[in-house]
Symmetry: none
Subunit: 219 residues, 2 copies
Amino acid sequence: MCDDEPQIVRALRVILREAGYEVSMAATLAEGLDLAAREPPDAAIIDVVLPDGSGIELCAELRSWSTMPIVVLSALDDEEQKVLALRAGADDYITKPFSARELLASLEAVFRRVVASDEEATVTVKGLEINFAAHTVLRDGREVKLTPIEFKLLSALARNRGRLMTSRALLSEVWGSAYANDAPLLRTHIANLRHKIEGPDAKAWLYIQTEAGVGYRFL
Amino acid sequence: MCDDEPQIVRALRVILREAGYEVSMAATLAEGLDLAAREPPDAAIIDVVLPDGSGIELCAELRSWSTMPIVVLSALDDEEQKVLALRAGADDYITKPFSARELLASLEAVFRRVVASDEEATVTVKGLEINFAAHTVLRDGREVKLTPIEFKLLSALARNRGRLMTSRALLSEVWGSAYANDAPLLRTHIANLRHKIEGPDAKAWLYIQTEAGVGYRFL
DNA sequence: CACGACCGTCACGAAATCGTTATGCGTCGG
DNA sequence: CCGACGCATAACGATTTCGTGACGGTCGTG
């Protein structure tokens, strides 16, 4: 659980303990990241607003190396934010105030979903296999070497496969919200990424389509 | 394996043997309990319906004194029952009919998940054998002497074999969270460790791959 | 046809990261 | 008391990776 409001923390702890879960807590983004890395929990509950950043960033960060179920809490019922959270890899989005039953139901649903599609840590599309847990990409069986940023970029795209992602969304997910307007930056990295996952010689883009003026789409 | 339907028993035995597992069988709840106590297996596969009781009971019974991975088989895809089984301590729930691949995937997933708390497992990869209980490492039969920290480091990597571990995760697991940012520390110990488990002279790293900017991967 | 908007590509300097070696400190056993 | 050992830290060269700016191509519009 990652939240900085004492009330919420207390309430959550009681609810979860009572339901038989073991709970460990962090108050900031950094702490949450550290905690999750040190003793990986079965699931994560994250508040959107944290002292040192956005819970959605933390969500994306966790998703880059873990498949644990993630539930995001938010004070406002904003459709936009909800979509952002889910795109960043969250499994559910709950708005405060919420009832204990609501939260527990969400958790159980998320658990069921994960057990069912367990180890869906790998996405395969047209001969391109992306393994999130191992941080590897294979094209027709051969490994493709990607830089950290290229992998984050590809992950963000692949997690939303089929959907169009705006340049703004991609930039803030990979580089952080400070870079949200740096379109040229995104262009060069998309170019580099394409050359690695498409063949060295490719006439048409097979995996990453560009939607002029809007963004990019994976598939 | 604990099941009373001859067809299933035969099929399972073939599937598991073929995958390299050693199999012992029991037909009833009582037999299963007895077998598990007499020669504790690495994992248990239990049918929900047994002649003398419920497989879920057996599951709970085993859980009271063992941490072995447990997979529950059921003829009906009942959400309610699935939750019951998982609550009783099962690690996965598979509905019949199931494919061989499905079962094996489940088993592997469950093994990976449980290995963390399993102290008596021994991992062998490409001539490198790591015995967690005995704290020993053998390369091609010859013992390799490791310092305590080197062994902890190798263990952390080997327990998550195939997966990429963040430098941050490795540091907090081996040295504690206070060192989570001390990348240079990790580097030198990785270097020392490599020189001991790879030959004294090795052109490419066989066991520990490095993913620049992210972390390390064992395999 | 001229123009602007947008995209893909290339090249280059700055910064980050990695592997390695060396040094100093503390501990333990002989 | 002294040497051996494990460990943390520092330093350095080599390589990789990143961000930026410039350039050319394409498309749609007036």
